[in-house]
């Protein structure tokens, strides 16, 4: 995307104020989004993000600038201004302009894209959305929203360590929301599968399955009464059920939280933090997975990071700054939404590994409790891991059997405590897709788990 000599010169000027590290990130990203409301095309948009971000480290202090004037003059101007930000009078690096020797670090592609979205017509993309809409129709279905999205992000990362990495990330997603109404009650169902793939992601009947799943949830919840309140055992469903682990445990395993000691796990490496049946990973290498990357946004190759093994904390998720702050080895976890953000340590595909029991066995263990089959959104208090999540699709469990559906249930708990209280892990691992928002913006991540049984969670419902 940019000439190597120019990049070398920009990086040298940028660190002329005494910076210990300089990095340039550039991207050229094209997007398509289609919004179908009740079967009619409500919005159709296309975008081209184009810009560069320049990051300087003075020890562990960060200064950051971005521009979409990626001409030599534009980049040099940013580099000069940024160099003055610290007001320091450090010496110009001895290697001088053009002296940086970039070794090409392009990580080997972990999978290939068959049908690149730029080669697929809008009408074909619209047809995918229409098929999902069609499958979501039926009795009691009041409104259907279908979002189709594809993104192709080309990136370049280069730094004063000599790293030079170019890559392209292609992603596709479909998101269906169904509102059902039987005249007295109303309910909502959602389904939003995505992948780091092109048109091939929609092969077979994926659009139909997505529309049907959103409808299934909405209709299942239509007759539901309010959930009871109180402490009880809870079986959380697989795939998107992993959102609680992501929010309440994942974020406090990122070095952004660990370095500030704003994490209850900060000094716990090698210690038991979870029940023995719990092992969890953050794996950025799964071919085609929504949160997978060949290389992170600071030129570190992606990897599979074991976070928890049989209950013992094995690793944090570490970016370049986190490595400097904590001394832990980088794990390819430096990510950002786009060139307007400096990278921080983030998740990729984070999930609890399979156990040996079946979901039915877990439910059979519960005398009276809640089956949270699909989860909705929630919030977590930073640092503490205290969380509050809504259940999109919930059922009561009585005497080991799944009984009537319940609406309005909220799970109120603490991530660290839950880890100790996970007493059963099933053998049906699956992942769900989400957009994770944090300091460095909104990025695609997979959450995931098999069905799990937590011995006790506070369920907030109607008393």
């Amino acid at each position: 995307m940019l000439d190597r000599n120019l990049v070398a010169e920009v990086l040298d000027v940028a660190r002329s104020g005494g910076a210990t590290f300089a990095e340039l990130f550039m991207e050229d990203t094209v997007t398509t989004n289609l919004h179908l409301l009740g079967g009619n095309v409500k919005d159709a948009g296309s975008g081209n993000l184009y810009g560069a971000g320049l990051r300087l480290l003075y020890g562990t202090k960060v200064v950051y600038a971005y521009t979409n004037d990626c001409t030599p003059d534009g980049l040099m101007e940013v580099a000069r201004t940024l160099a003055r930000a610290q007001g320091s009078t450090g010496e110009v690096d001895a290697r001088g302009a053009g002296g940086l020797d970039f070794r090409r670090l392009d990580a080997k592609p972990l999978w290939t894209i068959r049908d690149h979205p730029t080669g697929v017509s809008k009408r074909e993309k619209l047809e995918i959305a229409r098929r999902a809409h069609g499958a979501a129709q039926g009795e009691h279905v009041r409104t259907t929203d279908v979002m189709y999205l594809d993104v192709a992000q080309r990136i370049l990362v280069a730094n004063t360590e000599g790293d030079w990495s170019e890559d392209e990330r292609v992603r596709s997603r479909l998101y269906v929301t169904v509102v059902a109404d039987d005249g007295t009650r109303r309910s909502t169902g959602m389904s939003g599968p995505g992948a780091a793939m092109g048109r091939e992601f929609f092969d077979g009947d994926l659009p139909e399955r997505t529309g049907a799943e959103a409808k299934r949830i909405a209709l299942a919840m239509l007759p539901a009464g309010y959930a009871p309140a109180g402490k009880m055992p809870v079986v959380i469903g697989n795939a998107f059920g992993g959102v609680i682990f992501h929010e309440a445990c994942g974020h406090i395993l990122e070095t952004t939280a660990v370095a500030k000691k704003a994490s209850v796990f900060a000094d716990k490496l090698g210690e038991r933090i979870a029940n023995e049946c719990v092992s969890a990973v953050d794996d950025g290498t799964i071919p085609g997975a929504w949160g997978s990357i060949n290389v992170d946004d600071e030129a570190t190759p992606s990897e599979r990071t074991v976070l928890i093994e049989k209950g013992v904390l094995k690793s944090f998720m570490v970016d370049r700054l986190g490595e400097l702050q904590t001394g832990y080895r980088r794990t390819g976890s430096g990510r950002r939404q786009d060139y307007t953000f400096a990278p921080t340590s983030r998740m990729r595909n984070t999930f609890i590994l399979e156990g040996e029991r079946t979901p039915e066995e877990l439910i059979a263990d519960v005398k009276f409790g809640l089956y949270a089959r699909t989860m909705g959104g929630g919030s977590v208090t930073p640092g503490t891991g205290d969380y509050n999540f809504t259940v999109n699709e919930g059922y009561l469990i009585r005497d080991g059997e799944i009984c009537e559906p319940v609406r309005g249930a909220a799970l109120v708990g603490n991530g660290a405590q839950d880890l100790m209280n996970i007493v059963g892990v099933a053998n049906d691992l699956d992942r769900g897709q989400g957009m994770c928002g944090s300091q460095s913006g909104s990025i695609p991540t997979d959450v995931g788990q098999p069905h799990i049984l937590i011995s006790e969670i506070t369920v907030g419902g109607r008393a």
């Binding site: 000439d3 050229d28 095309v41 409500k42 919005d43 296309s46 975008g47 971005y66 007001g87």
Partner: protein, 453 residues
């Protein structure tokens, strides 16, 4: 980067190039373009915690084909990328279901406005860093009860916004802003309180870090020594900033778009005395130094002051050209979009409640005994703009015999904004605008529901 197709065009060239290509192809096109630079310096513990410099530009295209809009945007200003954006906008429009009221025009001339002042070119990076450090230090050392200053920042920027279309419209304006905010955390007797103070100007020299820091410290320490709030319905003075926040949260009820979609409780009530006669609401994009002032909206339509409510009577709604055409009226110049990446909707600019005569002290005297409401939080979940209902976490003081007696522990207030605006007893003279650009004086109301101990 060597071929002519890949060379980046200038901001002005890009606009002209797109319109020329659209005319060649016989396409009706609007180009919304903006560029800006911004510097933000955050300080913590006497040091620079974050320094961020940004420069961003882009073009947002809106093609009108067969009565429907198709959108595309690009930050890449090469001819190749602009050609792709134009083709995409047209292709997108062809997919969208037409709604019949979309139009482009060479609207009337906008008013002359200077929103740029002296410019920022004379303000060095070093001075900005100093301003940020001074702000944080003044807050940290302003009172012995300050524990730390978690939020403290200086930020400024310059930007240019342009709108052009194939009907011959082509206009642009420049603006400058500089602002600072600071939030000291104070502690006494096991109670922690934090309060944010914000100052917005259109001239660097007008910012006063010490004044802003001391005001923040004063406001935070005033909350110390809080006692439990009572529960029940009480008369209340709603402080000007809190009143402005209420108006901002519920401003959607004045949007013609929301009204036409059946999402405004005021839909179809023009000419009715919807509120108390002391309530006059104005939206004025031409205010001399308003945060949201601009000579024209995102469609290029000229700005003009608009009275939404006069003496309690609903006079009209905020319109863009599309909602206006649907309602059979003129646009009021309130088309809005979230930059070149967004789609066109309707939004207020500098919306404010017209001030009355009394001071806040006079309002408190009239109140006698009751609540002084200074802040509400959690509006994204606890306020419903479609019905006007709210139930919000609140902050305030108990007032006895016209004097502020003591601060209150966290409590909630609940009600409906329509009732609040009907229940007005007096409107103060102390109009002030919030960081978001909504303004209000303090207001005395007959009763509000308080949930305390």
């Amino acid at each position: 980067m060597t071929t002519d197709d890949a060379r980046q065009l200038s901001f002005e060239e890009a606009r002209r190039y797109l319109l020329d290509r659209a005319r060649e192809r016989g396409v009706s096109l609007e180009v919304f373009a903006s560029r800006g630079t911004e510097t933000t310096v955050r300080a913590f513990g006497g040091d620079v915690a974050e320094f961020k410099l940004s420069s961003r530009q882009g073009v947002g295209l809106r093609a009108l084909v067969g009565g429907a809009w198709g959108y595309a945007y690009s930050e890449n200003l090469s001819r190749g990328a602009l050609d792709r954006a134009l083709a995409s906008a047209v292709e997108n429009a062809e997919l969208v279901a037409p709604e019949g009221h979309a139009r482009l025009g060479a609207w009337a001339e906008p008013p002359e406005m200077d929103l740029h002042g002296e410019g920022l070119s004379g303000v060095t990076v070093e001075r900005k860093v100093q301003a940020a450090l001074k702000l944080e230090e003044a807050a940290r050392t302003g009172d012995a009860r300050v524990v730390s200053v978690p939020y403290s920042a200086y930020s400024d920027g310059e930007s240019e916004t342009a709108v052009a279309n194939t009907e011959g419209l082509d206009r642009a304006f420049r603006e400058l802003h500089a602002y600072q905010y600071v939030a000291p955390l104070v502690s006494e007797g096991g109670q922690n309180k934090m309060k944010m103070e914000f100052e917005f100007t259109r001239e660097f020299e007008e910012l006063d870090p010490t004044r802003t820091a001391l005001e923040a410290t004063r406001a935070a320490t005033a909350l110390l020594g809080a006692r439990p709030a009572p529960s029940g319905a009480f008369p209340a003075v709603i402080d000007r900033r809190c009143m402005a926040d209420f108006l901002a949260v519920f401003s959607g009820m004045f949007s013609a778009k929301m009204a036409q979609e059946g999402k405004s409780p005021l839909a179809g009530r023009e000419g009715e005395a919807a509120f108390h006669e002391l309530v006059t609401l104005v939206d004025d994009a031409t205010l001399a130094r308003g945060q949201n002032s601009r000579p024209f909206d995102v469609e290029g339509f000229p700005s003009a002051p608009l009275t939404l409510v006069e003496g309690g009577v609903l006079r009209g709604f905020l319109h863009n050209t599309e909602t206006a055409s649907r309602a059979g009226v003129e646009s009021t110049g309130h088309a809005s979009r979230y930059g070149y990446r967004g789609t066109v909707g309707v939004a207020p600019t500098n919306l404010f409640l017209k001030p009355g005569a009394g001071t806040r002290e006079a309002l408190l005297r009239d109140l006698g005994t009751g609540l002084l409401l200074t802040d509400v939080q959690g509006a994204h979940a606890g306020a419903n703009p479609i019905t006007g209902e709210f139930s919000l976490q609140a902050e305030g003081f108990w007032v006895e015999n016209g004097e502020v007696a003591y601060p209150l522990d966290v409590f909630t207030v609940a009600g409906n904004i329509l009732d609040v605006l009907r229940d007005v007893r007096a409107v103060g003279a102390d109009l002030e605008f919030t960081p978001g650009g909504t303004g209000a004086p303090s207001v005395l109301i007959g009763s509000i529901d308080v949930g305390g101990q």
